[in-house]
Point group: C2
Chain length 325, copies 2
């Protein structure tokens, strides 16, 4: 073993590996030399067992992975998480939450197999995770819909403000008959964006009754657009709560021979390929996705390591002007 080659005890090797401050430089050098020579790699399992730390962080993914992975927003957030963690000593585990047996996930998380968990809010039922936060460091990427407890740490974009900015942009560009395709009302992002649109619309003294709810997918956006068109409501400015839905809405508009932005202006949220490659390219509110992922991960690491952490971190957004307004 390393200790023998370096001529020291196993404890000392352990101290060197863990960068303990009180070890003589000579000894550190000797041990490192031995480590190098032997190609020694500490065993994670043994370490965890003895230190009662796993150095592992779980990223919990809702069972409905199809939607999850198909959404470029999430891939991008995961990327941010993974990249941040690769600069630390923590390892990232992807945990798919089984809906058949939700207990399985909870048990795994609480069974001391991870040091903390990241929950990307995508689904309605996050109550169990809010509870989980009582016994394990947990950070939510996106505000959970269920009531928050004292241990709820959230890193999120200000969805109300983003929707508000978008809506005001429409108004500032002369649009007076507004409509919106909202996101699912069991998700915080869906709720908050609708709230922002409605408040801003009403503040401007405009009618806020043209609302259709969809599911954040292109197909859902197209359906919603058709509904709106069929409703007979007049509108010249449309806020769509996600670029994926906007892409679908564009398709439906084209079916009816309507032109953007001549007949109707569109503004949305997300600067993904849907927004960039739409015809016309969409004016949108960008949320910095990888930055968001990194911030979530960083918050969790700080939490695990006992640092002071803000209960709520807001990630800034940015308006990108293109050709749809």
């Amino acid at each position: 073993m390393v200790a023998a080659v370096a001529g020291v005890s196993r404890s000392t090797v352990s101290r060197v590996v863990n960068a303990s401050p009180r070890v003589t430089p000579d000894v550190i050098a000797a041990v490192n030399a031995a480590i190098e020579q032997l190609g020694y790699v500490p065993n994670r399992a043994a370490r965890s067992l003895a230190s009662r730390k796993t150095q592992t962080i779980a990223l919990v993914i809702p069972e409905n992975t199809a939607k999850f992975f198909a959404d470029p927003y999430f891939s991008s957030v995961i990327q941010g998480v993974a990249m941040y963690l690769s600069t630390t000593e923590y390892t990232l585990t992807l945990l798919i939450a089984s809906e058949v047996d939700p207990e399985k996930t909870r048990r795994y998380l609480q069974g001391g197999n991870v040091d903390g968990a990241l929950i990307l809010s995508h689904h309605s039922d996050d109550r169990s995770y809010v509870q989980l936060a009582r016994s394990l460091p947990v950070v939510f990427g996106g505000r959970p819909t269920s009531e928050e407890g004292p241990n709820t740490y959230i890193v999120d974009v200000d969805n109300v403000a983003a929707a508000s900015t978008a809506t005001r942009y429409l108004i500032d560009h002369g649009r007076r008959q507004l409509a919106t395709i909202a996101g699912p009302q069991n998700m915080a992002a869906g709720i908050d964006r609708l709230d922002g649109w409605r408040a801003t619309t009403e503040d401007a003294g405009l009618d806020s009754s043209a609302v259709v709810v969809a599911d954040f997918t292109p197909a859902g956006g197209a359906d919603a657009m058709r509904q709106l068109l069929a409703s007979g409501k007049q509108f010249d400015g449309l806020f769509v709560a996600s670029a994926q839905m906007a892409s679908g809405a564009l398709t439906a508009l084209r079916e009816r021979g309507l032109t953007v932005p001549k007949d109707v202006s569109i503004i949305t949220i997300d600067n993904d390929y849907y927004a960039q490659h739409a015809t016309p390219p969409l004016t949108t509110i960008e949320q910095p996705t990888t930055t968001h992922g990194a911030a979530i991960a960083e918050t969790l690491v700080r939490l695990i390591e006992g640092h002071e952490v803000e209960r709520l971190t807001i990630i800034p957004t940015r308006l990108i002007e293109r050709e749809s307004v």
Copy 2:
């Protein structure tokens, strides 16, 4: 502890947890009852340490994660991997291969911290992973470019055949002046698809000199298209080695006022949103991505568990006819 409540020894509890065949049904029931009552969750670290198995599989991701995660193909494959593994006892760890310190990744992998590794070929230098396969079960999703060893297990699509099918489709539809936008020639997928195109084109007695190489991105595809246009070569049928590039190519074609498929037919590979939402929607060769991911993971698990495994598994592809030819 569980043993006490169930009135048996720890060994017996261990046997029940690990589904050992020779335990009396009564005892099994008693132990399970105790487990349930106590909410017992076995400690992974202790288990690993004693059994010398980690029940962990690493998914190695090239450092250039930006490209990686932006590619819907990979998100989708990861999804397949994650979903398959969630049905097993294995846990998925995302491992970002540092290019600054490639040794770090290798050491981690060889240090007994995982039972096996999945390499999604995306980058040129996979030699080190082919080597790694000598000491650790490794499965490649996509053929590595470097020479294969006896322990190289590969799960891949037949890229040559896919390109060949696509090219023949163009020819069958009356196109005689063919061109291609090829993928990077340091990646197997890029090389094989070009080979397939060239062979089929030449077999048909057609000119195979109109080739531009790009990097699988939309921007790269657009540039390549402009180059092709500027070259003065005439073509009425174009095979683009990925839908992302095809989407860029479409943009460049539009700039020049060319219409698809009237002026030029386009066929590509990948049935992602680029192919589906392009204008016009692209005729393409679909590779089943989540299935691919699941197959890769399954192969690795079988390998780890000592089952007989094929050295090469080919995933079937499918032609999807749309409006670009």
